[in-house]
């Protein structure tokens, strides 16, 4: 079972990110994926997060208590949720948006210039999908194939190609990063 949290601010597609991964896991990877969104005064424009629990069996408790993976795209999200990461948890950070403090020794931090990549692709708005590619490569919680199937219908049809490019950008960056980490030199 994996508890995943996506954190950022309203308008970045944080909720959408939870839905896409949850959909990939439950519809195409044959797992159970339960997504809940944080509503509340903070949901409009301000801090925003979505929680996803992915499991081999039915998810009984639907919320994230201690996350295995935290994907952050805002400073506030980072500050608020970094402490809830489990020991050995994975922290994925958009380094263009978040200044990360000296990391906790017990977690694995992976940085990606997601917003810059998205801008290079032509639209800043797809930064969250770059993050999803990165997430898929680093964590392996969902498969590349499942994510590929989950994207159509989850993003505007006109922007599907762009989103696929963004996803692949993040995914390839993640794979290379892992290769480097495994095999420095």
């Amino acid at each position: 079972m994996a508890e995943i949290r996506f954190a950022g601010y309203g308008g970045q597609g944080i909720i959408r990110s939870g839905i896409i991964v949850g959909k990939a896991a439950s519809l195409y990877d044959n797992k159970y994926g339960t997504m809940s969104q944080s509503f509340g005064p903070e949901a409009r424009g301000g801090a925003c997060s979505s929680q996803l629990v992915v499991s081999e069996t039915k998810v009984l408790y639907p919320y994230v208590t201690n996350s295995d993976v935290l994907v952050v795209m805002s400073q506030e999200g980072y500050d608020k949720f970094e402490p809830e990461l489990k020991e050995n948890g994975i922290l994925l950070v958009d380094e263009n948006l978040v200044k990360h403090k000296p990391p906790r020794g017990d977690i694995r931090v992976h940085l990606i210039p997601a917003t810059r990549f998205a801008e290079q692709l032509g639209k800043k708005i797809v930064a969250n999908v770059v993050m999803l590619g990165f997430f898929t490569a680093i964590t392996g919680i969902v498969t590349y194939e499942a994510m590929e199937k989950a994207l159509p219908g989850s993003v505007p049809e006109k922007a599907l190609d762009l989103n696929i490019k963004a996803f692949e950008k993040g995914y390839n960056f993640g794979l290379e990063l892992q290769k480097k980490q495994k095999d420095p030199q």
Binding site: G22, T34, Q37, F39
Partner: protein, 413 residues
């Protein structure tokens, strides 16, 4: 009868509970929803409003909840299957007309995505504190049915069932879901139309001149006709005889209102749906409903890992209440543990049915969240060790309550 293909969006979806309920209503043959937006039920109305026009059904946003529920009672008498959707304050506003609908023996469905109360409370977070309001919210005596789904899939499936029960027993049916399930996104499978069973209305087909609107069949439920079809209907929320004519006396009060109660009571066995797990060897049984039963299963697993023989009785239908089954189980076990997201509602009906044969433990939760499974597990473990017979309902001190109130809050043990 099978569902109409035009109403069933067969396929596999990743949607939230609210949306699933909207899809379920359409699949059930609902042709008319009137509602007034209120968090956290708005998405259900939105979902229906989006799909209804492609299927010849209609959603209207009324001016308030009083209008919404009045309109769907009217719509039902015009021949349509109807529903309204609300939460918290809106639910309170609808209560008068729930009793009106029950008095007129109108089939309709009310979806309540429960949120934290009282008053405005916590609009965006969960609660289960409307359960007694569902049962007793409108003045006077009447029977009704309430169902508590625990997942988006169930919000689809049980919305259909709610419509079927409403038609079969001609009474209001409450879908008592909550924000957690309503805003939870999961896989939902919508089967082909031919796999969905739909209960048709109990139409009267005899001569219009001989129609007696409130003359019951053997199962105590009368037959219906459509307004505007030449039956000279006289339908009133006032106490009435079988013709519908106003009467005042004790005799009719007893006869008619008794039937409103009895048509649910006497058909209880057909209405009630329970899900039992690991009951056979159990010393302790967790009695729960809705989202709490889902979390409870995890608590039960944890307690089993600690060697406690514990099972689950899930009330899929909460009203009518399964008195007999609880009485029977209370004789076999040491204790019944009731987690609910309130400070004690359904637990008192559990206690009533136990007749002192088992200890009854309430695991309360103030709302704006769900129980953590540890709390349910701890309650199971501690009551399994309890040797005394305790007459009152025992209130279990959860970690959350201890952390908020310190040691100051005393349980009744």
């Amino acid at each position: 009868m099978k569902a109409d293909q035009r109403d069933v969006l067969s396929g596999v979806y990743y949607i939230d509970g609210d949306v699933a309920a909207g899809y379920g209503a359409l699949a059930a043959g609902c042709k008319f929803i009137a509602g007034y937006p209120i968090t956290p039920s708005t998405e259900a109305a939105e979902a229906f409003a989006r799909i209804a026009p492609k299927s010849g059904a209609l959603f209207i946003q009324m001016e308030d909840e009083l209008a919404s529920v009045s309109a769907i009672v009217g719509g039902a008498w015009a021949g349509a299957k109807t529903m309204t959707i609300t939460s918290g304050p809106g639910y309170s506003l609808m209560m008068e007309t729930v009793g009106f609908g029950a008095m007129l023996e109108t089939p309709f469905v009310l979806l309540n995505i429960q949120r934290g109360g009282p008053s405005t409370g916590v609009p965006t977070k969960t609660g289960q504190a409307d359960m007694m309001q569902a049962r007793w919210g409108s003045h006077g005596d009447y029977g009704l049915i309430a169902i508590a789904p625990e997942s988006p899939q169930e919000l689809f499936d049980y919305t259909i069932k709610a419509f079927n029960l409403a038609e079969k027993y001609r009474c209001p049916v409450m879908i008592m879901s909550d924000e957690c399930v309503g805003h939870m996104t999961e896989k939902v499978v919508i089967p082909p139309a031919e796999e969905i069973e739909i209960e048709p209305r109990r139409w009267y087909t005899g001569s219009p001149d001989e129609y007696v609107p409130f003359k019951p069949d053997k199962d105590l439920v009368p037959r219906m006709v459509k307004a505007g079809s030449g039956h000279k209907l006289y339908i009133s929320g006032r106490l009435h005889d079988e013709r519908g004519y106003p009467v005042d006396d004790e005799h009719y009060k007893l006869k008619y209102v008794r039937r409103l109660v009895d048509k649910i009571k006497c058909n209880k066995d057909k209405i009630i749906e329970l899900k039992e797990e690991q009951i056979d060897d159990a010393d302790v049984i967790v009695v729960s409903y809705g989202i709490s039963s889902r979390v409870a299963i995890r608590g039960i697993e944890m307690a089993r890992e600690r060697g406690i023989k514990v099972g689950s009785l899930r009330l899929v239908t909460v009203w009518p209440f399964p008195d007999e089954r609880i009485t029977e189980l209370a004789k076999k076990v040491k204790a019944l543990v009731v987690p609910e997201i309130n400070y004690g509602q359904v637990v008192f009906d559990v206690a009533r049915c136990c007749h002192g044969n088992a200890n009854v433990v309430l695991v309360p939760h103030g709302g704006a969240g769900v129980h953590v499974p540890d709390d349910i597990c701890d309650a199971i473990v501690s009551v399994a060790k309890e040797e005394r017979k305790i007459e009152e309902v025992i209130e279990f001190k959860t970690k959350l309550e201890i952390s908020v109130f310190g040691g100051g809050l005393k349980s009744k043990e």
